[in-house]
Amino acid sequence: MARIRHVRGFDVARPLSIAALLGIMLPLILLPLLSIFVYGTGKGLGVFWSSLIAPDAVFALKLSIATSFWATVFNVLFGLFASYVLSRYDFWGRNAVIVTISLPTAIPTAVAGFSLLLLWGRYGMIGQFLTEDQQIMFTPYAIILANIFVTFPLAFGVIKPVFDTMSRSMEEASATIGATRLQTFWHVTLPSLRGAIVSGALLTFARAIGEFGSTILVSGNLAGRTQTAPLYIFAKFNEGQIEAANAIAIVLALLSFVIFSVLFFARDWFDIDTQEV
């Protein structure tokens, strides 16, 4: 039996286990990611570029970014408000509210999209009362709604724990110094949440920009009108235009990469001045 042992202070297990780790990650994550870059640029950067600036492609990217942005704005504001209420006040049913906010993570995105259709669709519970020009489904607003739904708990989930652990005495100190609640929130509470807000926003945005399941149901997938970037990839792939799909895939992959790098370092950047002595 081969025994792995230290040889003159050299731990053999170390390179072996690192190699095994990378070996597992390679076919599962690294190679798939690598392949979109290999194939996407395989026919030359010219093809890549012309696929990228195709009007429908540009529109899809813009639409994705815009709808994700507004969903992020809403969910961060809501997450802040919900965290404030739920960590400052105790009331009957408080836990039920927390569970409900977190629920969308557990719901399949197709179900989320479908339920929005049932509510807002032409014959839906609310939709039936809307006139033809007020209809929301199959418009960019439907995409925002779907994005809000599926990313609902993300910002809240990051902000709430920070609220919970934030010492009350800081806000009390501000009050005794003479600040109003609003001043305290603006000058004291909010700055302490900076890191959490940035993380929550990035997390929400990253999740929203890649959203597929719910978007395809509520948007109608109309090229140049309600087709987001992930839908564009899917449509072009179905049409056999692999280069067109690939170009957008690269952009989305790079965007996620950037977002996650920022996310990874955001805490360090923003919370550096709250370190324990």
Binding site: S167, T176, I177, G178, A179, Q183, V277
Partner: protein, 409 residues
């Protein structure tokens, strides 16, 4: 003024008072009147009243759960009393929110704003009051000088030591000229050495700024050093309020006697100007005057107030109690601690003979044990060993009524 010159020679130009500007004051800065508070089912404060004079520092001393923090929070306006009033400089502020009271609270962990520099923390009170920028800057400069943090003004709280953070917290409250400063366990988070050092620092700072202060602490040494007066709290009510000398040397209750330092306690009867403990009689004309003949009393005395001598001659000023046997001698650094068993025999008719000293072997040891401490010089001059018979006297003691039931108080 002398204190200021002596303690902070480099702040000679600081002739600004940080106490609030007001007309000729009545002398009382803050007053708590009949404050009671319940949390759910338990009563936390029971009819507590006290005053803090202008420029005075008062220490609220009590064990955890005694309600001292609640009083502080009620004065600050962070908690509402169920009944009673809080009066600051003659104005009833009971119904005012915290931000309108102008009280400075130095929280236990200082609660500095982590995203603001030292300067900005100190300027915060003026900023939210929208005071002019120039005025603000001037005040901050003076305060930073006062608390000697000139070279740290651009630093963030986490870059400061505990003591520096505390000074920022104090300066931050002084900026808006608080009516009273409230310190919540100000030294709780610091190590023992820093604690002693900072105590003196704060004391001299308070003497400079002349703002009345209320400290809360569970540390009796801290209380004795910081307070012009000490209020001892026990289970939500005020046991005694007085100067450190008062509460330490003339404790009004058994709780005060035992909470502030060590105390020996013996049960006796007040008769004919003496305290009679078994067959022993301690002359106490003055101390027993307020008791009726034959009333049951407690004799309370501190370990350092016991004098012992191997012959019958006790030093003058020392009133003889009885004899005893040395049981144990411990040397504990600055002083010597002895356990002495007293010869206290019950009077005729009382059958319990437990108090009689017999022989000093551990197996058959009887007699009432008391604790005695002696300063080092005395301990070296006159050495004792276990088994020595000694005469016991007291230089100072208190006689308290012995109520069998708490409600008789």
């Amino acid at each position: 003024m002398m204190a200021r010159m002596a303690l902070a020679p480099d702040s000679g130009s600081l002739h600004v008072s940080w106490a609030p500007e007001r007309e000729k004051s009545s002398g009382v800065a803050a007053s708590v009147r009949g404050v009671s508070k319940r949390f759910k089912k338990s009563s936390v404060l029971k009819d507590v009243s006290f005053d803090v004079a202008e420029g005075e520092s008062l220490v609220l001393l009590g064990a955890s759960g005694s309600g001292k923090t609640t009083i502080l929070r009620i004065i600050a306006g962070l908690e509402q009393p169920d009944s009673g009033y809080v009066i600051l400089h003659g104005k009833d502020v009971t119904d005012l929110p915290a931000r309108e009271r102008g009280v400075g609270v130095i929280f236990q962990a200082y609660a500095l704003f982590p995203r603001m520099t030292v300067e900005k923390n100190i300027a915060y009170g003026l900023k939210i009051r929208h005071s002019p920028w120039k005025e603000r800057k001037e005040a901050v400069n003076q305060l930073i000088k006062l608390v000697q943090l000139e070279e740290h003004r651009k630093k963030y709280p986490w870059q400061l030591s505990g003591g520096q953070q505390q000074r920022v917290a104090i300066a931050r409250t002084l900026a808006y000229k608080p009516q009273v400063l409230l310190f919540d366990e100000p030294f709780g988070a610091l190590d023992a050495q820093t604690r002693v050092h900072l105590r003196r620092e704060i004391r001299s700072l308070l003497k400079q700024v002349k703002v009345p202060a209320i400290f809360i602490t569970h540390d009796q040494e801290e209380a004795l050093e910081l307070g012009d007066r000490i209020a001892v709290l026990n289970d939500g009510h005020l046991e005694q309020i007085g100067t450190p000398d008062d509460v330490y040397n003339h404790p009004a209750t058994e709780y005060v006697a035992t909470f502030l330092g060590a105390a020996n306690l013996l049960l006796g009867v007040a008769t004919q100007g003496t305290v009679e403990i078994g067959t022993a009689k301690l002359p106490a004309e003055k101390e027993t005057r307020r008791f009726s003949e034959g009333q049951s009393v407690k004799l309370v005395f501190r370990p350092e107030d016991v004098c012992i001598s191997q012959d019958a001659n006790l030093p003058s000023g020392c009133r003889r109690l009885t004899n005893g046997v040395i049981q144990e001698v411990n040397f504990v650094g600055a002083y010597e601690r002895l356990t002495v068993r007293l010869d206290l025999t019950h009077r005729k008719g009382e059958t319990d003979g437990l108090y009689q000293v017999t022989i000093n072997t551990p197996e058959r040891m009887t007699g009432v044990p008391i604790m005695v401490t002696r300063p080092k010089p005395e301990a070296t001059a006159m050495k004792f060993k276990p088994g020595d018979r000694v005469a016991i006297g007291l230089t100072s003691f208190s006689v308290l009524p012995n109520y069998t039931l708490a409600r008789q108080r």
